[in-house]
Symmetry: C2
């Protein structure tokens, strides 16, 4: 039985999620794909930190120890920030590795270059986990194209912002108190600027734009408004009118092929598909020529949801058998 | 450039949808996949009926004219009912054709046998269009497995029933009047027994059960209740309590591996993901170990949505290139 050798770059929440799922689902994956999976090495920042990993898996803080290993087939990348992640992946691709990334900051900006580089080297780049965590929006849009044409994508792409807006409404508390609660629960980082300013949602929107329309608008042409300006009074006034604030990222293409994007708080009525999407969930509505509207709602972050998005990418690369239908 | 030769069995709403999409999206499909698509023949019941089809496409009511053509690579089947569809597809598989079906009645019962038969002959069977029309629930569940484990599937799987319940609530009219309206709008057949009795939703639930759990419960163990017993008074009483009737099909697996299914009207509160799903839309909630809850909402029927589900299957069979990411 052929063994597939993988490395994981970054062992934070997402990297650990991948590690756990590959171990926990080892037997089912083996049975379904015909492959054993061997986690050869993990790149960490601090090798002194104690970690519960299987004996035989190398823990290193030296990327070259991983990239110089000629046996590695697939690299999972779960590092934060554009560099050095991008350079690591470029080198991995040149060595013939398939690449799976969760790095939205890097991919929003350098995804195009990475995909072209991979095509030139005959390997794959997959990025389901960059956008909306466990919600399989990348695979879904890919599977609609080219038989259908996407016209508009709208959604809640940042779970932290949605959690904060939900708390402000439900508990009638101000933004700062809701943010503090999100931080206590681990839903927001100590530095949550990118989440509450709308930058994080913007990056995911740009990834979706590139996928659905083959390109992105000029970044400076997209207005980005965060939720930090939404007041308790505004939320309460909205509630009286049966409206809810949602932080919505939207991109659409007009008849002349011009892309228009926006990111910001929007008032949503009770019959809108985004009305009921509370807490840390993400939601995306895709409008197409043939389907009309397709809505996906699910967990936008978390160890297992995001890890499972990456393992899903992995299974598509190694090619799993179709699940059999047995009555 | 290699040409792929296809036949369409059945030229009702769905078959015509496939025909139109393959023609309308011809150039994009060619560019993305590297294949030209040649619609060689269409099986119809009445050859005398006038149809706008491309010259060169053979219209026939003789299945053997199609099955004896050694050049056909892929068969789209959009016939209603178990037979003769099943026998046609068995024969097509034996001749080495890939098969794409929208036939839920046949597939709920004979899907297992068909898939095994296809495996034995080295061809594929795809069935996205059998369940929830344009909503890509089959592909989504397939892509979650085997890295994740499905625990429960719930949803609105019959758009006609959902339309009727919506009209009964919004317009405060009785079941019969709402059914008549659905028929006038083409959302319900003249004989809508299978829709309003819950049988149609049940069949789709059995297809999802086989996919997600590898098997189906004994059919006679699944209680099936339709919407024909829901009274105007009951709908109005529910509305007063901010509840809505939804016709929900549900299947779950317990810790001992026992499957429990049910189909029937359920009262839904305002914070439930199915609360806002009105009209002819379908919605499915999949609960898994890793993802928690994933919800998909979209058109459950119609020429273009269902046709595009079948063309999506087709593209997966012929293997399309990944859409490039260009920034």
């Amino acid at each position: 039985m052929p063994s597939i050798k993988v490395a994981i770059l970054g062992f934070g929440t997402v990297g650990e999620g991948v590690y756990r799922i590959l171990n926990e689902r080892k037997e089912d994956i083996q049975q379904e794909t015909g492959h054993t999976i061997d986690i050869v090495s993990i790149l960490v920042r601090d090798t002194a930190k104690k970690r519960l990993v299987t004996p035989g898996t190398k823990i290193t803080n030296d990327i070259q120890e991983i990239l110089s290993d000629p046996d590695i087939d697939v690299i999972f990348e779960a590092i934060v920030g554009e560099e050095p992640a991008y350079s690591y992946l470029v080198e991995a691709i040149e060595k013939g590795c398939h690449v799976i990334t969760a790095n939205k900051m890097m991919f929003a900006k350098r995804g195009s270059a990475l995909v072209k580089h991979a095509e030139a080297h005959g390997v794959q780049v997959r990025y389901e986990a960059t956008t909306a965590g466990g919600v399989p929006i990348i695979r879904t849009i890919m599977s609609l194209l080219p038989a259908d044409r996407v016209r508009r994508i709208r959604g809640i792409l940042n779970g932290t912002s949605n959690f904060i807006l939900t708390k402000m409404r439900e508990e009638e508390i101000p933004f700062q108190a809701a943010l503090y609660e999100a931080q206590q629960l681990g839903y927001a980082e100590a530095d949550s600027t990118d989440d509450v300013s709308g930058k994080d949602a913007f990056r995911k929107l740009m990834i979706l734009s590139a996928l659905a329309f083959g390109r992105q608008p000029d970044w400076q042409d997209v207005p980005i408004v965060g939720i930090d300006g939404v007041t308790t009074e505004a939320v309460q006034d909205a509630s009286k009118g049966k409206l809810r604030y949602r932080h919505v990222a939207e991109i659409c293409i007009d008849e002349n092929g011009v892309l228009r994007g926006s990111v910001g708080p929007v008032l949503i009525g009770s019959d809108h598909p985004l009305h009921g999407v509370d807490g840390i969930d993400n939601a995306i509505i895709v409008d197409t020529d043939h389907l009309g509207s397709l809505t996906l709602i699910g967990p936008g972050a978390g160890m297992y949801p995001t890890g499972s998005a990456m393992v899903g990418d992995f299974l598509q690369i190694i090619g799993k058998r179709e699940p059999a239908v047995i009555s």
